[in-house]
Each structure stands twice: as structure tokens, then as C-alpha cells.
């Protein structure tokens, strides 16, 4: 195990993050505040409570998930795409590192950044709404798992992407809609029965539902199913990455 290499990649990537610290932090804080103003104040004044929770508080887990998923995917995809784009990837390919070490470095850093941002949004939320966390440990566990699994997805996108447009394509076309339709801002029980069934095919529903359970102790789907869904998703990403490195798809001819 080349632990030095893992740490080197991790620190190198984190430095990129800290170099652009202001952008990295200000934009999620600002956009979250906007969501609170628009959804919390404008719509919340009409909805008041969902499943016994004030609407302002109810959307907090969804908002955190929205940012965490987008950030984890974007950071990881950029992290591996950029060296590929400028050609510096030759060094990774010629270094005595295994695919697991490369993934651990890049995905670890991207997940850490997303986790930071998730926690900052949580802190910001406390300024807007009265919030209690029923299961803090489960909350952290869900957050970490989401960061890691979406960073893995981002890594795959970064390897797959042939240009900067494609790099944006999946987050824009798939992740954002799935998160918005995954019950970030509403409970799926509020939907007509047909749409409730359709929604169950959206993997993000399980993540948000589980995460929301860790805050309020109530969920759209059972916590066990949520955990199973996230494990399945992480496993699928890991398997894809293993296949990518085994076949050298898009990186090693």
C-alpha cells in the first residue's frame, strides 16, 4: 500500500480547495440562504408544517443533500478530469500506485470538501430555523456516505468526460432533477399515488428520506431500505471504477 501517494493526492486536492476558499464557501452559504428566503419564507408561510415539522426546518436535510451531492460530484469529476485534460495524468499512470490508491486520494478529497460544505450549510440553517437533530451520529454517517458515494460517481464522470461540456452534463441533466424530484422540498406522501410509485425508482429519495429521519425521526421510506439503497449505489460506483481501471477505459490504452 502506497500510503504516501494517497496522502499526496489528498493534500494536493485539498490545497486546490483551500486556494479558492472564498468561492468554495461563499457560494453554498449564499445559495442556501436564498433557498431559505424563497422556500422557507415565501412558501413556508402557506405550508407551515409537514409531518409535524415546520416547513423551514423540513427542507434543511434536503438542502444539505442537494449541495453535498452536487459538490461531491463536481469536485471529484473536476479533480480527475483536469489532469486528464492537461495531460498531467501521465504521472499517475506511471507511478507505483494502484487504482484503489488513486481513487482513495481523489474521492477522499472530494468527499471531504463536500462534507465541509454540508456542515457549513447546517450551521447556516441554525440561523434561519429552529432545528433539532434526533440522531446526530446517524446524521453524520448518512452525510459521509452520501459524500463518498457521489464523489465516486463524480470520479466516473471525470474519467468518462471527453470535454468540459460533458463534465457539466450529468450533474445538470441527471443529478439536479433527481435531487429536486427526490423530495428535497416536500414529503413524497404529498404526491398523487402514481407519482409516489414513480418516485420510488429515484435513488435520491432513499438518501434524503434517511437523512431526514436522522433529523426528525420520521421518514418516507424505512431507514433500513435507505441504508440498503445507499450501499447498493456505492457498490455500483465502486464496481464501475474497478472495471475502468482493469480495462484502462478512457485512461490507459
Amino acid at each position: 500500500m502506497n500510503l504516501n501517494a494517497v496522502l499526496t493526492i489528498y493534500i494536493f486536492e485539498m490545497r486546490r480547495f483551500f486556494r479558492t476558499l472564498t468561492q468554495s464557501f461563499i457560494s453554498p452559504v449564499l445559495s442556501t440562504s436564498l433557498y431559505f428566503v424563497v422556500f422557507g419564507a415565501a412558501i413556508g408561510s402557506r405550508i407551515e408544517t409537514v409531518e409535524g415539522v415546520s416547513y423551514g426546518a423540513f427542507i434543511v436535510p434536503g438542502l444539505i443533500m442537494l449541495s453535498v451531492m452536487t459538490q461531491a460530484t463536481a469536485n471529484a469529476s473536476f479533480g480527475i478530469y483536469f489532469p486528464k485534460f492537461i495531460g498531467a495524468i501521465y504521472e499517475l499512470l506511471s507511478a507505483p500506485v494502484s487504482f484503489l490508491e488513486i481513487v482513495a486520494g481523489y474521492v477522499g478529497a472530494a468527499a471531504t470538501k463536500a462534507l465541509f460544505i454540508g456542515l457549513i450549510i447546517l450551521v447556516t440553517a441554525f440561523f434561519f430555523v429552529d432545528l433539532q437533530i434526533a440522531h446526530p451520529l446517524a446524521m453524520i454517517a448518512f452525510l459521509v456516505l452520501t459524500c463518498v458515494s457521489f464523489a465516486l460517481l463524480g470520479f466516473i464522470i471525470g474519467i468518462w468526460a471527453g470535454n468540459f461540456e460533458q463534465l457539466q452534463l450529468i450533474p445538470l441533466l441527471i443529478i439536479t432533477p433527481l435531487v429536486f424530484l427526490g423530495g428535497s422540498f416536500y414529503s413524497i406522501t404529498m404526491l398523487p399515488p402514481i407519482w409516489q410509485t414513480v418516485t420510488l425508482f429515484n435513488p435520491v429519495v432513499y438518501l434524503i428520506s434517511g437523512f431526514r429521519w436522522s433529523f426528525f425521526g420520521t421518514a418516507d421510506v424505512s431507514i433500513g431500505v435507505s441504508l440498503f439503497a445507499i450501499a447498493l449505489f456505492t457498490g455500483a460506483c465502486l464496481a464501475s471504477i474497478w472495471w475502468i481501471f482493469r480495462t484502462g477505459w478512457r485512461i490507459r490504452q
Binding site: 502506497n2 504516501n4 501517494a5 496522502l7 499526496t8 493526492i9 493534500i11 494536493f12 490545497r15 486546490r16 486556494r19 483536469f82 489532469p83 492537461i86 495531460g87 498531467a88 495524468i89 501521465y90 504521472e91 499517475l92 499512470l93 506511471s94 507511478a95 507505483p96 500506485v97 494502484s98 484502462g248 490507459r252 490504452q253
Partner: protein, 308 residues
């Protein structure tokens, strides 16, 4: 001397079916400087990339320091440094940070003093905190060398280190290579410039269309294949070559003032003495004589033409 890099029956066919390397075998001795010469598309870069692990071989076996590059890739790659042909650097990083990154990637613990030494050796000492994008092309190339040296490799691959580099910097680069060789590093470089191979290599390999045409000691190669020419300048123009001299196949310059005699320098009899005697007998007055040795370039062009 023992081979530090050994390539056996290496074949590389790309997905499109293009065969970049056809059954290449090559031994690189520890401590030598080997220059790989070949025209564009000959397979030089593919050969280097395959040894370094960037490209996967279709068939064949490569060992570095006795370690198979496929099954013991960690041990094999740890010994190898690679300076790519293109400048592939993270533009926003500082020189120090990008060079340290390379060292860490190869599993070596952080050592700023060592890296500063390398940078000084490459005249980059005062640029260590500069961002890569602010450096000139020549400096960037040296940063690539610093990255490759950062993890103390025993074998260094330089893929066209002086392509598009001005004359002065090229000479600098040759000095760097000489210094590295003195410190015991084995160096393999690819080049288009024959004078470069002539200037710094111990052995020369010629590769064309995915095949190694020859690998030979540079001096032997030039002696063996080198033709020498004797130029004879006459005081008065010779209207034609006298019949008595026809067996020498002399070439006569248009003005009749110079005669050129081509001979094999390694042959037992060069024929020079008899030629000079016969010239005198023919009544031709010599003003001056010069000899010229054919360069590696002539040899190379000859070889590549043969296989074309």
C-alpha cells in the same frame, strides 16, 4: 554490466488495429545513455510509454531492475522516471508543490531539501515559489525533469527533451544529462536530432515503423558504417579524370579543381597511398587534401531509407 531494462518480444497494437510496435526486443545497460533515433511515428513514444506503464503491451515482457512491469508494477515503476514529450503541468501550482507531488506519488517521504537541490541543479532554485504558468517553455521542460528526478529514479526516460528548444538550452540540457549519467542514472532519450545522439549517447538505437533496426555502440557504429571521403584540391583544373585513375571512382567537381575519393575507413587497404602515387604519375599537382567522416545523420538516413 547488466541490463537494468529488458524488453522481450514486445508488441503493441492499438484498438484501431494500428501496430505501433512489432516484436521489439531491447536491453538497456545500467549506467548508459541510450539514444533512440527514429522518424515521426516510428514508435519511440509508444515504446517508452509501454515501459513506463502508461500503455498496456499487447504481447511481450518488460522487466525493470528484474521486476516485471505487469505483475510487479510497483517495484518496477518505482525505479523509473519519465519526462514526457509534451509539457503536461498543472498551471496553477508552484514549482515546489508540483515537484513535491511527484515525489509523494512515488511513495517517497517529503524531503524539501532534496527537492531544492534538484531545482538548483536545474537552475530553477529561484523559481521554486513561482507558479508553473509564469515560467518560460524551457523552464517548464526543466520542471518536468525535476518531477521525474524527485523520486530518485535509477532509470530516466527523456522523450524528446530538446524538441523545440533553442540551441543554448539544448546545450544546457546535454550538460544536465551528462551530470545525471555521472551520478549513475541510466538514461534513455528519444530524439530527432542526430547531433544530439552523437553528442551525448553511448549507444544508439534506430527505430522505424515499430521495429528496432539496430542498437549499437555509437563509436563502433560510426566506424563500421562510416564512409570516409578524401578531398583533393588541385592547383590547376583537370579537364577530365585520366584513365589511369578510373579504378578509384573519383568524383570530379565541375570546375575540375577538386576530386573526391570515397573509401572505407575500416578496410585493411584504404587505397590512399596508391591513389596519391597515381595522381602524381598522371601529372596532377595537388594543392591541398582533406578527409571527412560521414555523420550519424548519413547513417541514419541510409538505414531508414532501406526499410521504407
Amino acid at each position: 554490466m547488466s541490463a537494468i531494462v529488458s524488453v522481450r518480444n514486445l508488441r503493441k497494437a492499438y484498438a484501431g488495429g494500428f501496430e505501433a510496435l512489432k516484436n521489439v526486443s531491447l536491453d538497456i545497460e545500467e549506467g548508459e545513455v541510450l539514444a533512440l533515433l527514429g522518424p515521426n511515428g516510428a514508435g519511440k513514444t509508444t515504446l517508452i510509454s509501454t515501459i513506463c506503464g502508461i500503455t498496456v503491451p499487447t504481447a511481450g515482457k518488460i522487466t525493470v531492475g528484474g521486476h516485471d512491469t505487469q505483475t510487479e508494477f510497483r517495484a518496477a515503476r518505482a525505479l523509473v522516471g519519465l519526462v514526457p514529450q509534451e509539457i503536461h503541468l498543472e498551471p496553477f501550482e508552484t514549482v515546489m508543490s508540483t515537484v513535491s507531488f511527484s515525489r509523494g506519488l512515488f511513495g517517497k517521504p517529503r524531503d524539501d531539501t532534496f527537492i531544492e537541490e534538484i531545482l538548483d541543479r536545474l537552475s530553477l532554485g529561484d523559481k521554486k515559489d513561482s507558479k508553473v504558468m509564469t515560467l518560460s517553455g524551457g523552464m517548464k521542460r526543466r520542471v518536468l525533469i525535476a518531477k521525474a528526478l524527485s523520486h530518485e529514479p535509477r532509470v530516466l526516460f527523456l522523450d524528446e527533451p530538446t524538441a523545440g528548444v533553442d540551441v543554448e538550452l539544448r546545450k544546457d540540457m546535454w550538460e544536465v544529462v551528462a551530470g545525471l549519467k555521472a551520478s549513475g542514472v541510466t538514461i534513455i532519450l528519444t530524439t530527432h536530432y542526430i547531433e544530439e545522439a552523437e553528442a551525448i549517447a553511448d549507444r544508439v538505437g534506430v527505430i522505424n515503423k515499430g521495429e528496432i533496426l539496430l542498437v549499437q555502440d555509437k563509436v563502433d557504429l560510426m566506424a563500421q558504417m562510416g564512409k570516409k571521403q578524401l578531398r583533393i584540391e588541385l592547383s590547376e583544373p583537370a579537364p577530365a579524370i585520366p584513365d589511369a585513375l578510373s579504378r578509384y571512382n573519383l568524383a570530379r567537381a565541375e570546375n575540375g579543381l577538386t576530386l573526391t575519393y570515397t573509401y572505407d575507413a575500416t578496410g585493411e587497404r584504404t587505397g590512399i597511398t596508391t591513389l596519391l602515387n597515381d595522381l602524381q604519375k598522371a601529372g596532377l599537382q595537388m594543392k591541398d587534401i582533406q578527409t571527412q567522416q560521414s555523420s550519424l545523420e548519413d547513417i541514419f538516413v541510409g538505414l531508414v531509407k532501406e526499410t521504407a
